[in-house]
């Protein structure tokens, strides 16, 4: 009898151990498995970007909000990046342990979540319109409207992606400022190659030949947005690409290749080490440069510009890609949690000083229309003049497509056109035609 009981006990203990090993370690309370209401206090879970400065910012905001609102508790934690932050969010929703809200959502992923009914349309929540008004972001948020007419993501920051130029090399070649049109750049490339041969390239970046979807944001889209005047490329499930602009972009890249101006190979920090003289630069880069490349000084040995435009276009009309991420509220949250979440966001954005704090701590330009006119940001921009062109161009930046298949679609841009043109495997016209056909087929 004792032996039988021991056997049962052993089996039960083993099963319990194995089952407990399956646990994620996350507590599960409330309807969404994350937070809820208890004793008059509504608890909300906020997942911040897996970046210490952003996490610290939101923790500070949550603490300040809680001190004024004793009926709400906000737990701020970082989104797990294993294997990717998107996959972590997906798993959490599938496991019914999604947070109440999270930041770090790009428009494409927002579209995937919205398609799956995992997000609350923010414009249906009381207080959302107040946020837009008080934060002064009516123009900035306009292109964020999804094809179904709703707003699912509240943009937090908007980086109008710019191109960096090695000013020291430009000066050696007789330029005091960056060239702005395609033919001017091809001309500069010829001079660069004559002087430096295989020691320097116009654009040195392994990503140019990499079909990974998001890499197109920082090469093809930057150039395409400029050449097309901000054409959306894909709207809803329609391919609306501007053929003339697209072929001009691909021809420009092809011409750079023909002049040996492209190096699509693995190089350690090519722009920083002077192997490349032109590259896409986001404002997050400056923090790294301050620590790793303190010799790089804005206005001395590097400068920034909007993307170049085809010959005949006015460079002043140049548009660019908006590297921008925002905040969402999950549909699995209770009504109380949704209301508390929107109230928290309203409280944060009611005071421009909070956006200024964000800008100062993260270098990421808040998604507002008044970044260059509001005095709250003046001190930051005066202190860091390299951030000024980003702030000035927030309204000229085009956000990513809102199509749930954006990964597939952007991979096609690389595999059918851009990567092949970079490698000289296809003509620009054929590349565009193949890409268009493949995208239209994928959209069906």
């Amino acid at each position: 009898m004792i032996k039988k009981s021991l056997g049962v006990l052993l089996t039960a203990a083993l099963a319990t151990t194995m089952l407990s090993a399956c646990s994620t370690g996350q507590s599960s309370t409330g309807n969404s498995g994350s937070g809820g209401s208890s004793g008059g206090v509504t608890t909300i879970e906020f997942w911040a970007a897996p970046n210490p400065t952003q996490q610290a910012y939101w923790q500070e905001m949550a603490k300040a909000y809680e001190s004024e609102h004793s009926n709400v508790k906000i737990n701020v934690s970082a989104i797990k990046e294993s294997p990717t932050s998107e996959a972590s969010i997906q798993s959490a929703i599938a496991a019914k342990s999604a947070p109440t809200m999270s930041e770090n959502i790009n428009r494409g992923f927002g579209a995937q979540l919205a398609d799956s009914k995992a997000l609350v349309p923010l414009d249906t929540l009381d207080g959302f319109q107040d946020i837009i008004k008080e934060r002064n972001m009516s123009s900035t948020i306009e292109p964020w409207k999804f094809a179904d007419g709703h707003q699912y993501v509240l943009p937090i920051y908007s980086n109008a992606m710019l191109f960096g130029w090695r000013l020291d090399v430009l000066k050696e070649l007789g330029y005091n400022e960056p060239p702005q049109t395609y033919s001017e750049i091809v001309e500069l490339t010829k001079k660069l190659k004559d002087k430096y041969g295989d020691k320097k390239y116009l654009w040195a970046k392994a990503d140019l030949a990499d079909p990974t979807a998001w890499k197109r944001w920082f090469d093809f889209y930057m150039l395409y947005d400029a050449a097309s005047g901000g054409n959306k490329f894909i709207e809803g499930s329609q391919f609306t690409g501007d053929q003339k602009a697209g072929e001009e972009v691909l021809t420009f890249v092809d011409n750079l290749r023909k002049e040996s101006g492209l190096l699509a190979r693995q190089v350690t920090d090519p722009f920083e080490n002077g192997v490349g003289v032109f590259t896409d630069v986001g404002p997050w880069t400056f923090t790294t440069w301050k620590e790793k490349y303190p010799n790089l000084k804005y206005g001395e040995n590097f400068t920034l510009s909007m993307p170049p435009v085809p010959d005949g276009m006015d460079p002043k009309d140049s548009k660019t890609f908006a590297d921008t991420k925002g905040l969402v509220v999950y549909a699995s949250a209770t009504k109380e949690q949704q209301a508390a979440a929107i109230d928290f966001i309203k409280w944060v954005y009611a005071d421009a000083a909070n956006d200024a704090k964000w800008f100062e701590q993260t270098n990421l330009p808040p998604a507002r229309d008044d970044l260059t006119t509001n005095d709250s940001f003046k001190a930051i921009l005066d202190k860091q003049p390299e951030l000024k062109p980003y702030a000035e161009n927030v309204p000229n930046a085009v956000p990513p497509m809102d199509n749930a298949k954006y990964n597939d679609l952007q991979t096609i841009i690389g595999t059918e056109a851009f990567n092949k043109v970079v490698k000289g495997e296809i003509s620009p016209a054929d590349g565009w035609a193949n890409m268009k056909k493949a995208i239209e087929s994928a959209l069906q």
Partner: protein, 291 residues
């Protein structure tokens, strides 16, 4: 007595049975269910679409590449790792002392992180690395990770470096089990070093070699980290493995149903391939009279 033994047998095998039910059969059934749906795991609704995911996967160029890339890696990785592992095992086995120390040394790459070794290789192959600067000076400008064949070789070599010590460990124990008297008898008969290796060592090492070969062939179906870090499956899907494809579909495109179908196709391809390879190895062993 038999009944009591029967119960004890069930008791002692129950942990494995429970483990298999939870971690093998459960996920397998779940994966099969997902593969016949268009569910992405998060949408409130989904449709049962039958074998549509499988049909799509069979038509997909990136799935085709995953299928062929596995065999390309086999052709590169298996011969290299086998030759190196045998060489290391024979050399270490012949050492008069400190055998364990040397074996641990060769085993260390197996314990190292694939991410770290890939990043180191990435640095070594950088356009501006001393190796490439030197090669350009002698007229060789090689785009190591941007050319399909060299990208395959690089990943194959990293894996060979990683697994050589592990397989050498298995082969060393195989060598240790060979009776010394066989060698002594051969020495009396005047066999040369070469004959000694081909006629005695290799045949008697066959059981261990069989194990390492099966393990090595199996590795090629699970390559992920090195490819993810170094090439992302490129250039032009030249290094797109099954695991890379499943990862892309499940975690980038959020197509859980389709990814499950690809995963099931991968397991079928793995099962059939390993079965055929096992049979071929057995025929090879029997034909030579090693088994």
């Amino acid at each position: 007595m038999d009944q009591r033994n029967n119960k004890m047998g069930w008791l002692f095998t129950s942990p494995y049975l429970i483990y298999s039910l939870i971690f093998f059969f459960g996920p397998l059934i779940w994966s099969f269910f997902l593969s016949v749906t268009d569910w992405n795991l998060i949408a409130p609704t989904f449709n049962i679409i039958g074998f549509e995911n499988f049909m799509d996967a069979l038509k997909s160029p990136s799935v085709h590449s995953a299928f062929w890339v596995t065999y390309k890696f086999m052709l590169i990785f298996v011969p290299i790792v086998t030759v190196l592992a045998i060489a290391v095992a024979v050399l270490v086995h012949g050492l008069p002392r400190f055998k364990s120390l040397f074996l641990i040394g060769f085993f260390l790459p197996y314990l190292s992180s694939g991410v770290v070794s890939s990043l180191i290789v990435k640095g070594l192959l950088s356009y501006t690395s001393p190796l490439n600067v030197f090669l350009r000076k002698i007229g060789l400008d090689i785009d190591w990770l941007g050319t399909p064949l060299s990208a395959l070789f690089i990943v194959g070599l990293i894996l060979a470096w990683k697994f050589t010590g592990y397989y050498a460990l298995i082969l060393t124990s195989g060598l240790a089990s060979i009776d010394k008297e066989v060698y002594e008898a051969a020495a009396i008969d005047g066999v040369t070093e070469r004959q000694r290796f081909w006629r005695i060592t290799l045949p008697l090492l066959y059981p261990s070699l069989y194990t390492t070969l099966i393990l090595a062939f199996g590795v090629t179906f699970g390559i992920f980290t090195e490819v993810y870090q170094l090439t992302g499956g490129g250039p032009n899907n030249a290094t797109n493995t099954w695991q890379m494809e499943i990862f892309k579909q499940a975690f980038t495109n959020l197509q859980a149903g389709y990814a499950s179908a690809v995963a099931l196709l991968a397991s079928v391809a793995t099962f059939i391939s390993i079965f055929i390879i096992r049979k071929l190895l057995e025929i090879w062993g029997k034909r030579n009279g090693w088994v």
